[in-house]
Amino acid sequence: MSDPGALAVLAILAIPGIAAALLAVLPDDRTTAWLNALASLLTFAAALVLLVARPPVGPFLIVDDLNVVFILLSTFIAFTTSVFSRSYISHELETGRLTPKYLRFYHAMYQVLMFGMNLALLSNNLGLMWVAIELATLTTVLMVGIYRTEAALEAAWKYFILGSVGIALALFGTILVYLAARAVVGEGLDAMAWSVLVQKAAGCDPALLNLAFLFLLLGYGTKVGLVPLHAWLPDAHAEGPTPISAVLSGLLLNVALFAVLRFKALMAANPAALAPGPLMVTLGLASVVFAAFMLYRREDIKRLFAYSSIEHMGIITFAFGMGGPLANFAGLLHMTLHSLTKSAIFFCVGHIAQVKGTQRMPDIRGLTVSHPLLGWGLVLGVVAIAGLPPLGLFMTEFLIVTSTFARAPVLAIILGLALLVGLGALLLRLNGLAFGEPYGRNDPTRASFLPVGAHFALVLIAGVWLPPALVAWFQYVARLLT
């Protein structure tokens, strides 16, 4: 264990685990929120080590070029969210929406969730990854229902039922992949290890792999929030605590997408198997079109951005489904920037909902006048998420549409139109939210703008100037994805 890479992997998994245990037993005062942030920071620091040192591939854990991107992004946003969560939660305590007992539970669950997501990203074993995603799902179910209001309970129940059905389908797919691999690799752990499967996939029975991929795409696709399996997503985002909405949109959807990408690589390695691309393109495009139109009818601000998450996960799935170095590169970058932007938007929205005492958009007006920092933060976030220049998401959407034009012009036109429809809806809403005469409750804000500022700075920089090292790194990963 003297290898720094192995130590880092151990730390990434152990720190959230230990922190969860500590936070579950420590008495609940305001210091636990700092401890939560500290644990997340340490996890992020450990993840940074993986950039320079990697452990050897084991039967259960693996660090490769693809998952390093996801782990870094995931641990970074987990850290900034924990900083945001501190100021958000202290307000919730004051208003009495959360009791100290639930606060302890909340912090412990936050770290268990991080443990589950990191384990899912690091696992080299199909079964282990499935267990980790199941763990992450269960913790988020508990956290969505934490306010114990009628709406929160309905959201959590819906999420639980749909999420577990998705997870069940994914397990069936996993069993089928094992069956396909067993004929080639032989019985035992090797038949469930990514590192082995990708090399041996060419010899597997293509019919069995096809069926397995269908189940896996539907199963994990439910967790990605792809239409028509998205029904849980807006409710879960709207009714849970806002830090959880940020983590759901920014991280958990990515983890599920990561699982789909792993299996896509497996399918691509077998020339006789069904091409996974068109399936993903179809689901992705359906999500973009559906979500773009649904954006118009929202009245709840968190629901609005939840639908926007569906739209963006659709775009990313579409890009990976098209495949090829350019689309994969754009998809990867889009995923990174979307996670940063969307979680920053949820940070703003969380504070907005607290100062206005409501999530209903007709009751929120003139934020740039009453709360300049929050209001302009929201404006910047919506401009970024709508895909306007000069922010990063414009560039990636542009890349995705143009690279599609060369290969499938019809799809590119549909995608481009849907993006415009979504843009219109967001700007329409933004106009009402941010400008005009403020009215209603206007509590002073004590928000911490550090996480919001950090995320927007990264997105803005990415739109104007991408560091060549990052571009080279993402291009390299994009080529690996086939």
Partner: protein, 220 residues
């Protein structure tokens, strides 16, 4: 393969599908819970038999978990819950039994037509087990969408898990990780469910999911 071993494994899997059908038409919660206990019993026997013919002793653990947890503890706990809620005598509206059964038959036919051709390589027992397991999973899904009651949905979900266990043990030599995890997840799921049932009770004096749909917080 020994013909007796094959026949008995086949019989277990077939019985499981039959019990899944029985779950579909129970119109009382007590009957539903009892039928689920039978479902879990059949699964634990099927898994134990697989452990015996595959000479895989670790599968006995899975069988024991299925027997202890899902055939005994969970049904007893659910009986207590519904008695405490005072819904144990209520008749549950079941979406027209005839139609549900027809849909169920269609799903079984579908899963056999899908699974048998693609698993030609996998050996007779494994492929028939898989076809039956998929039937159980689909019937569980059908039950979850045709019922409104939280308890029935939970039972539908657990019958899906039973189907998954059948599939996992039918795939010879699948590493232990998965079996433990399946059992583990059911355990966690139960905790979640328990919490939910009581919370729902606190709020609404009922566990009818239908009432929850009023609270969407959004205009149609």
């Amino acid at each position: 393969m020994d013909p007796l071993a094959f026949d008995l494994a086949h019989l277990c899997a077939g019985t499981l599908v039959l019990v899944s059908f029985m779950l579909l038409y129970q119109d009382r919660l007590t009957g539903l819970i009892n039928t689920f206990a039978v479902h879990a019993l059949v699964v634990s026997f099927a898994v134990a038999w697989q452990a015996f013919i595959q000479e895989a002793p670790h599968l006995y653990i899975t069988a024991a978990i299925a027997l202890g947890l899902k055939a005994l503890i969970i049904p007893i706990a659910l009986h207590r819950i519904i008695r405490r809620l005072g819904i144990h005598r209520q008749i549950e509206p079941v979406v027209s039994i005839g139609q549900t059964m027809l849909a169920g038959i269609g799903l079984v036919a579908l899963s056999i037509m899908v699974m048998l051709p693609v698993t030609a390589q996998a050996g007779t027992l494994a492929r028939e087990d898989l076809a039956f397991a998929l039937s159980v999973i689909l019937l569980g899904l059908l039950m979850m969408i045709s019922r409104r009651n939280a308890v029935s949905q939970v039972i539908g979900f657990m019958s899906i898990e039973n189907g998954l266990i059948l599939a996992a043990t039918g795939a010879k030599g699948m590493p232990l990780v998965v079996e433990i995890s399946v059992a583990f997840s059911i355990l966690v799921a139960l905790i979640v469910i328990g919490v939910f049932l009581f919370r729902i009770r606190e709020r609404f004096e009922t566990v009818d999911i239908h009432l929850l749909h009023e609270h969407r917080g959004e205009q149609p």
